[in-house]
Symmetry: D2
Subunit: 307 residues, 4 copies
């Protein structure tokens, strides 16, 4: 398994939003501009087809367009990770094959969902993905979607086997995150998925961050990360606190829509207002933000110095 | 929408297991034998690509094989419903197109899952599926998998709009089931997904049942249903009580595997022991039953007079 | 343990509401009138200090007033069960001592709550209550409050030991209810706590019902029960369906308050409108119903022929 | 409300375990020794009758013994906070009266539990406790027990009203913690209840920590806190990492008991092994640790330099 582990993934690796046209197709031109915006922002890698990419809303054909567009445009300048998000192993392996063909650097997979799952089955799942792909596999711990928490014990066991190259932790459980950090044998990449506790995760020893809000403000997360790496924790905290305030945009839709509609809609509206993408459209059945909600996002951007 | 509603779906409509070869492919020969076993058992319809069909574990190509095999072999003798189970509207619509091409009689769809969803979004989801398919759409209420409960209010509203033709209720909430039964305007088909409260659901006014255990013992569920329809509730209850005892096979795997492995494995082991299918294999990453567990299923079958 | 088991509890045993004065004290005069209303309605027993009695809101002194008032006034005409609802064994035992002193016929206890609890601990809990009280103990299965589901296996094991005399099942899981009914050795009293599936629970073999709505319409539940006992299931169903419609009063408070405020408030408002109790007040911190909500309850009562 | 707010609570405030005799009574002598152990360890305050004090298992008489014993022995040397843990407002107010009589410095209350509760009701609950007590009230956010998460919006609103003096956050949601820290107007005391992320919580701006493990190693948490206050974050982190490893004692009971039995049993076994308390007994219905489990705790203590 050593060929998988030459370098440990670190830094800012945003989950790339998937811009869409108003009729629900992938807007490849906007996607390329978004990738450029992120790379120019200094990010260390890109994660396509994650939750913030609306992966759950994309057809297989659309997922392939995203993969080919991003992998082609990036051309190896930064690592590209691909989410292979589906209910169980056989369906995930279909996505694995497409991602491998597209030439990505690593895969991000959740535990099985929709089915009732046992730790033994979760282990089989990750082992199969690793063996079939020949690529580094990152576990995606996202209980709000998957309804299973990946325990430190399970993650560390699969890390020791060489099955997992790292974890993207979006569980919000920083105690569990710390257990993984203290228990791992190098190299195992611990990436936090939380937008609002990046400085403290890095402080605990995390290697990087996968922030949805990094689409909107990659420079901010890059500054945060670099300050932490240089040991200037005070600067890291101030940057983080600015980003915590900006993150309030995800609540703009309030109770009239689901959290995905509000959060992903906010990221896209902000990217549209900043001139990065052509349309703020989100996929069905999400509820679009209205003008008043979009205007409030604009105010947040202005306060954050992003307009 | 009237063309959708010419007949209301009633009776015993088992969710058809998907037999597999030992290397994980759809075993079409066994599937055809299973369909014959069910039709000879007297069932009123077939539901393919439901949870008991391991739909969550089948690739799109395998789903298509199932649809074509069953729809082709049935040739209109009984209605065939197809599950179109995926995370969100755009992905579900892909399955809808395939199911429509295969010539099925109706579609069964859950609310969106994996994403955080709002009632407004669930309504949009079902409306879009109905409009795009031109087929009767049955809501699949399965909170254990989808992590959302479809309320009576939501179901009755979509029924009144003509969007939903019925519901398959696997929520276990018989109070909610009754609210739908008492609140509906005809024709709206209420089908219980519970194997163990069929007599009482029919007693409350439900139209039929979609029992996973019906794969193993279709004759039992057909006797139960017909006794109820003829007003012989005592016979219905006795049949149901026999089936409650048989249903204990789903717990055979105990705590060493997940509920899907144990339950779906038990159905397939029983079908194998009864000579209906060639292999008891289940899809990855499920844990196979061992010999001791399979022997216990054999004893249950013997007790139930099925060997 | 045989002295505990001379008779099996059956029939309609409403959880008695606790009328209050406008300053939050137990209104003993109204409570006596409510008890008379229920006994005249033909109920087979009374359950005081249950969830519908606002037991969670009553101080220990108030609980004692309720026990003494009801036990004294009933004077043995019907069995009186007492809820002994608290977090863990030592606290529950304090309530047990008071209930035993008051001369009640049996006790109703939940699993421990607030703490994280294991089946071994739940067994110790019920065994201790049984041993200390010398009274029949009924398990109260109420996952919405206790956040633990009592499994059929656990209940049947404690029944076989003589620890439990029965169960009040408010879990809404009629499949589980049936497992207990089919698995029990006589005498073990199975009582459903659901207002809306009483006919079907009796049909499955349940012995009785503990309906909060029975405060408002005891005659209805008594008619339902007696029809079922006489084998006139059609009459039972019609009565049940009338009560299902009446039960809609519990939703009157909608989203502006919690379910307890709305449901318990509705029962008390209905009792006030029917002239049984002097005040519709509920305990802090519940939100009182307003005039418009109360008027809607009045309309439901009129429709049900109760005004 | 200004008299409530003269000083903001800060530092290490352990939730004091409640030593018991082998027959389940409060062991006041051991409790006094434990208090001395903590004060000599340098703690800034004491929190009695919290979850780690087995408050859910103590009768009202036992709670009063604890309050009188600790308040009397401390004699004002450090602030003593008292948990007033019960299901709803009227029951909590009974505990408030006893705590006020005992002369405590502040109160710690959860949202209502057992009942189904609404934010409006939670606000009424805290407002009533504050008004009736005249003492600083700290909200106790413990979703694992209370099954409600206190949102930043709710906490900050009650803080602005002067109802709440602070929060003890045991939710594990450090993103939410940060929202409160950034959103508060001074003085509002933010205390983390997590044993394993104290350095990062202090880094974010929290004022202190309420660590159950602080019973076992108060010196460790005091060193951690003081290092952080002096800006020596590296020392704080190293101390925290040592304590993360020691915290593994809470898992010693594994799957054969509940989390309370294992965690609280481990704290008491450690205190017994260290010679602070006379008996490691926990209250019913908790499962006692066996000799092998106790021996493993001893090894952890030795590794941590505490034996």
């Amino acid at each position: 398994m050593t060929k998988k582990s030459v370098t440990k993934l670190t830094g800012v690796i945003p989950p790339v939003c998937t811009p869409m046209t108003s009729d629900g197709q992938v807007d490849a031109d906007s996607l390329i501009r978004l990738v450029d915006h992120l790379i120019e922002g200094g990010v260390d890698g890109l994660f396509v087809l994650g939750s913030s990419s609306e992966v759950a809303y994309l057809t297989d054909a659309q997922r392939r367009v995203v993969l080919d567009t991003v992998a082609g445009h990036v051309g190896g300048r930064v690592p590209v990770l691909a989410g292979v998000i589906d209910m169980t192993t056989p369906r995930v392996l279909e996505h694995v094959r497409v991602a491998v063909e597209a030439g990505v650097s690593g895969l991000v997979a959740t535990a099985p969902f929709y089915t009732r799952t046992h730790p033994t089955e979760i282990r089989t799942h990750f082992r199969t993905i690793s063996a079939e792909s020949g690529l580094p596999v990152y576990a995606y711990d996202l209980p709000v979607a998957v309804h299973t928490k990946l325990t430190a014990e399970l993650l560390l066991g699969l890390a020791a086997e060489g099955v997992l190259a790292g974890v993207k932790d979006s569980s919000g459980d920083d105690g569990g995150l710390r257990q993984v950090i203290l228990g791992r044998e190098a190299p195992f990449s611990v990436l936090t998925g939380s937008e609002v506790t990046v400085d403290s995760a890095l402080w605990m020893g995390a290697d990087g961050v996968v922030p949805g809000l990094g689409n909107v403000d990659p420079h901010g997360y890059v500054r945060l990360y670099q300050a932490a790496r240089q040991g200037d924790w005070e600067a890291a905290r101030l940057e983080q606190e600015r980003l915590v305030r900006l993150f309030e945009i995800v609540t703009v839709g309030g109770g009239r829509m689901g959290g995905s509609s509000s959060g992903l809609g906010a990221f896209k509206a902000a990217l549209h207002l900043r001139g990065v993408i052509d349309h703020p459209a989100t996929a069905l059945p999400q509820v679009p933000l209205n003008d008043e909600e979009t205007a409030r996002i604009g105010k947040h951007l202005a306060t954050a110095g992003l307009l």
